[in-house]
Symmetry: C2
Subunit: 245 residues, 2 copies
Amino acid sequence: MSGWVTVAGLGPGSEALVTPEVTAALAEATDVVGYIPYVARVAPRDGLTLHPSDNRVELDRAGAALQMAAEGRRVVIVSSGDPGVFAMASALFEALEASPNHQATDIRILPGITAMLAAAARAGAPLGHDFCAINLSDNLKPFSEVERRLRHAARGGFAMAFYNPRSASRPHQFTRVLEILREECEPARLILFARAVSTPDERISTVTLEEATPEMADMRTVVIVGNEATRRVGTWVYTPRSVAP
Amino acid sequence: MSGWVTVAGLGPGSEALVTPEVTAALAEATDVVGYIPYVARVAPRDGLTLHPSDNRVELDRAGAALQMAAEGRRVVIVSSGDPGVFAMASALFEALEASPNHQATDIRILPGITAMLAAAARAGAPLGHDFCAINLSDNLKPFSEVERRLRHAARGGFAMAFYNPRSASRPHQFTRVLEILREECEPARLILFARAVSTPDERISTVTLEEATPEMADMRTVVIVGNEATRRVGTWVYTPRSVAP
């Protein structure tokens, strides 16, 4: 009886974006753990125990998964998007570091389609040149660090994707993010709000930085800011591959 | 007879990482166009014409796809990884911008697992905090732009993923990239070389910046540089989710 832990990325929402590798891991699992809405995406079946848990208990969840694997269970930790992008993979390794007796656990990380790539594809190709991904939440880092990264990203000419731009508990930070962007970028810079991509609630809009308002983002939105060359062609938004010398 | 163009991401190599959405698009296609090794990943069948083409003819290929769609063909442009990350989606929109008579073409972009996410998953979670993706090739931008972005990424505390780090035609630039990183980062910074991820040729190694040599990268390698908190736990490499205030 040899247990394992797999951290699997379910993609942004649509089943058509779940990789066969992830589907196969779920078919072999005895236990699925994860945040409530992600576990809800896994179909119940005989022999499979679902363990939904609340947000912000990532380390407890990872520790429980390691413990179940030690008992011979085959555990899939489900993440939305890609598990390595602001999701459960890092939490699992933090838990592993804190549990020396679990370090021989059979672990696999299975990549998934992360929200910024699904959003970019729906809009065109706004991340078609160098870009960065920034988690705007200050749950786990000071907001001064967010500000430092925003300024370097803008001054480096990167397109940017923002995860967790705004939540009920921190409604004002995204206002400040827009202010910082306005200090660093021209008013005509394109900014794209992609909500619930690939689900029935999908809503995507592109505006200029000048037109953007904080209310355009919520906790289900990924925000993409183009670089200075990002432009529209018809209904699409794309960033050219070249930079003039 | 209504034609279309779909740009589809095949992922890094393994069929287990191709999304069902991409598989379905290929099943409906009459024509597949793309760089020779990517078209070679599509199984021939009756009614499907394969159009492999050489590297560096992206705009010609995109223009040909738009023309075929206008003639009622169902065309899939295949990209490795994700089509929106240093791949064919931007080239298609460049071609569309240059062809006003094709702007009503039915276009879809289908995301895929890009190399950095597959590499990160194999290694652990090195992109578990804010990160950026930089194309090191200077085919389409001056090297001074690469240098500017490297320095901002390092000073902003981002982990970094490098695409196209080194090729036979530009063997010296990656040497210069390592020099710049050594000016900006501490010698113990972890750097990960992931070659041909998810294929039989896969080879992944993690060294410190001090130990890294240019020969560790080639054109099939994606390179990931951790941030200052990136560390090892057992055989894994991960970046913690938090930044201390």
